[in-house]
Symmetry: D2
Subunit: 359 residues, 4 copies
């Protein structure tokens, strides 16, 4: 079963559309219990204003349950990112730099290995411009190192960066462009930066995910059909993503779920839907697509789709929900990403200087 | 009762948030019947691909029912606007030019009367940039005419244009800026162009409203607190608006209504909720705020608000729903508006040349 | 004699076109000697990487000689501004904040006096966008203070800001828009930010001028015809300007001067044209426009104009010279200006926090 | 002798820096006579408001004399392009489409051959954004055709397009990116669109050059070091270029030449410098770099360089001269290019519809 099917299945079953492993995990736990998913390891750390969660999907069963490929997913949550708090930005960028370095170690990258950074998305569509904006601020060095004598290049890492555009404007799958360029320049790994969709609006522009499982078809704000990962490119792919939109489908569906469950939250009380507990039967999940009773019993999935489509036609899948001040929020979070990358790429840039070399 | 209260009341009662008189009218008819509203006149014309509806709110009762001030509201609907169809764009701009001229006649404006065009909204936030974008393409002439000898100015209309920005960036109510400038230059009328919010996504960037009742507090994509109309400015105000967003609150509420009504649309059948018919009692509406039974009986309004707020926190009122390709759509519709204005302003520009003088 | 004529005269006589008092002063000294100009006081301070020069034009004679109105001109020169040096940016913004505060003292502005900041120029034309860009980053407070109870507003200064656009796009003189708005909101002084033209390319985006003589017709990158100063507005006007272009006319003329003077600079030697010394006869300057012999004897002024026009047709006066990376340079210097203004406006913002509240 | 040297040599000898073959040709004729250059064929056609000149460089001698590689150079001159004249835009786009088709025939391209369009330059630097802007408006089809059954694809041409960015932002030579992508997608030819530098300001945004000799190192507004042509890519390269800047060096040098020649143009008379006629000695030109007497005898080339560098430091080579309204001009000419490409690419788009499918 391909990754696409995994995503589709999650959506079909729970009406959840998210690119964050953290949200997939929470949703599964919420909907199905039990406290832990088999084959999925979760580790959490906190510091003032920032929560770091490392999720490792260790088995195919875990991958099936989560709808996410086996691998590592680190998520940094910092609600203060939306508050224009410079101190928090700086600490977050430092933490992100260290997390990226951890992924470099996992991928066994050497300190002189050439990297290709790819800003995915459409630079003309604000919520999809995160990748190109981050790349613009990056310190690229490959062309400078190529002109230096070999003895001076020791310990320096050649960095290149491209923003390949989107399929609708190029006619070429983004993955093909990356393959062509990565091969030509001999990159040892690819770092992709992408705008994501999350399930909940409170994660918009305040959450950063780093993962080593690549970019999946249909993920992100744009529409991609070809995976960008180690299998397709032949070299490690580290993806950095920030949710900038919620699909309109998701918030409509969430509202319907709340009604279906007869859950009208009290102002002072529990703000989360009550969990309907039952046991997971891994065999059933892995082996077949047979429909099992679930919490959303009141309205059949097909009917829900019809309601959603009635509210969202003629745009349906392309309608996005986004905060009004999205332009400003994306400027700020792309600075955090570029600063963290500069720091993790170059020995000479210390954590104190995380914002010093933004161009 | 102020206009603000009218709007709020409509929202409280039916969970409808729209800046289009056409949608208010449809919603009232849908929710309350009967086929006609007292004090509201509706006239419709069609030509290939374009529907023109003129609504006249003639009495205070009509205004109360509609939640719209007494006056004229013309709406041009052209779903093809989203299809990049140049022929349709041209015909639409011509129709719009004629409609604007009709409003000039209503306001008894002379052909040499100086006009101030105002592009409302924030030029840095894509869905709110409609006004400034339209104004950029306009042919302004006031400064040229001032340098000409009086005998050459005969029959020529001095046009000025400003994009005053938004309260959060200026610290000044937009209405105050317009007052200051209109008075200084002796404008005889103000034409405002503004991005609006509609109730339904299928009107986004495909509907244009012209009205002579001004801009109301809280309307549009931005947040305004001061009315911009004949009472505040002392001169006629003609407003041209295009819906570019749907408030996230609206689509969630719409979905909930459909469920509440037990209405699961069939794929091949009626796509509109069945109307629950009952008679309007104007006295009750005008005289008091007492709650009457309505179609949304299943869930109390307060509970709905809680569900919506749970789905949309921490952004709530500022979350907007918009198509991904909004940048492109706004470019195109602002050309239509600027072309129509150039044609209606200047004797020398014929309907055939509606796009000729876009700068 | 109007200010326009002063500028024209300077240009006619020496082919110098500059908006910087510092450059006018240097040019006069260079061309005419003697070491000091009557009626003009010059004071210079230095700190690491930054030179501050305060020029006071004290008399009409000084004004005539300089081609600048009587008043104060402070210039901060920091060549490092072009090097993306964050530390220098911060120190420069702090110095600029203090200099602006000195101008506030000169204008006897109280700490609660309302100020209107005006971003002059065209936000769509990169080299002219300095004003609007600076204004975008500003902390505006007037609308917030208006909603606060009077006892809480004590010591707080209401700040408003507008970017009025340019004559060609609005049809209205910028000065008229400012008058209309300043009067309406009761501003006690106006702060204008404008892109300037300098004589020499090495000052582009590395020099900031603060002055209290307002904006003169024909100055800046755009073309203005109406003065914006205390006489026209009735309140003090403090202008902050940064050269972002050199007029093409200027560099062509400079090159011709060097040839005319037979001065071919030696690679290691003196890089400045030799001064041709002679005495100034103030009577002659003030009293008449009669042509006197000068250093440019070889080619008559009229012939020069013809050569320049031959090289620059059909654009002539509108051709500008600018560095390729102008977009980036303007982003950076507008941050310095907005940071300095935030600090000088608000008691609560300390010099350490000069970049903290950039929005 | 490499192409770089050819360019450098032209610059050293005549202080001419231009990317237009038409200007090189004129300059050589002006400076050296005689009426014709050996190995260079010139053909001119005119229609109302547009001049088409086809220059064919047929031999190595011609290439040496011109400083341009052997091949075809077609130039469309339309001064009215700067006047916002829609009719002229349309006729020009039609002519350009036909000219591009002629180059397709020369390159023996089949009607189903896949093409890769490349928008060279930096989308963030206005005068360098011509390529990316043109590409944005293009109708790309490759991804659509790939999803169609083979029998439906007959006669349809797969079009892809990329904007690879500039070396300073990517760290990768543009040529390398093109190679990687063209190879990956199996393109049969590459069409490059690039902003050029011209010698004279009156050609800015009013002249379009099509050529089949590729892009040379150091040409265009950006700085490229690697050729993009048939030798490096292995497939035909058709380049479409529009001058958007004049190097500041050029206009200063031109002014100096006029003075040196003692040529002060009379207002009513000949506006071109008198030609100093003497015979070309091809042997000398091909065989050696020995300096021969020329019109610029008055000031040695080295001294000129010093004067120029004194006027333009610290930016020198990166200073550009451009009209103030460059943003608008580039928008318009990129529409002409995109329209012409759409028409020449796709059988289904007729000349009448040259602007119909701009996206």
């Amino acid at each position: 079963m391909s990754k696409t099917n995994q995503q589709d299945r999650l959506f079909e079953k729970y009406n959840i559309r998210t690119d964050l492993a953290l949200e997939s995990h929470q949703a599964i736990i919420e909907q199905e219990g039990p406290p832990e998913l088999p084959g999925v390891k979760v580790h959490t750390e906190e510091e003032e204003g920032i929560t770091l969660t490392r999720i490792t999907v260790e088995s195919d069963l875990g991958a099936q349950l989560m709808g996410k490929a086996p691998g590592n997913y680190s998520t940094l949550e910092a609600p203060g990112l939306r508050m224009h708090n410079r101190d928090l930005h700086e600490r977050l960028a430092q933490l992100l730099a260290k997390e990226i370095e951890w992924f470099f170690d996992q991928a066994a990258l050497g300190e002189e290995d050439a990297l290709l950074v790819v800003g995915l998305g459409n630079w003309n569509a604000t919520p999809d411009a995160l990748g190109p904006k981050s790349v613009e601020n990056l310190m690229v060095t490959r062309h400078l190192l190529e002109m230096s004598p070999p003895e001076l290049r020791r310990g320096l890492r050649p960095i290149s960066a491209i923003s390949p555009g989107v399929l609708g404007l190029t006619g070429i799958e983004t993955g093909e462009i990356i393959m062509g360029v990565a091969e030509r320049i001999g990159a040892k790994a690819v770092i992709c930066i992408d705008a994501l969709a999350s399930r909940s609006v409170d994660r918009l522009c305040s959450t950063i995910q780093v993962s080593d499982t690549g970019i999946h078809p249909g993920a992100g704000v744009g529409n991609r059909r070809l995976a960008i990962n180690k299998e397709t490119l032949g070299i490690p792919v580290i993806a950095i993503g920030v949710p900038t939109v919620v699909h309109a489908v998701t918030i409509v569906s969430d509202a319907m779920d709340l009604i279906e469950q007869g859950h009208i939250p009290s102002a002072d009380g529990d703000q989360r839907p009550e969990r309907v507990q039952f046991n997971i039967d891994p065999e059933a999940i892995m082996g077949s697509r047979q429909q099992r009773p679930n919490a959303n019993a009141g309205v059949a999935a097909g009917d829900k789709r019809q309601i959603i489509s009635q509210v969202l036609e003629p745009y349906f899948g392309t309608m996005i929900v986004t905060p009004k001040e999205i332009d400003l929020l994306i400027d700020e979070v792309s600075d955090v990403i570029a600063g963290a990358l500069n720091t993790s790429f170059h020995e000479g840039v210390s954590y104190d200087e995380v914002f010093k070399y933004l161009s």
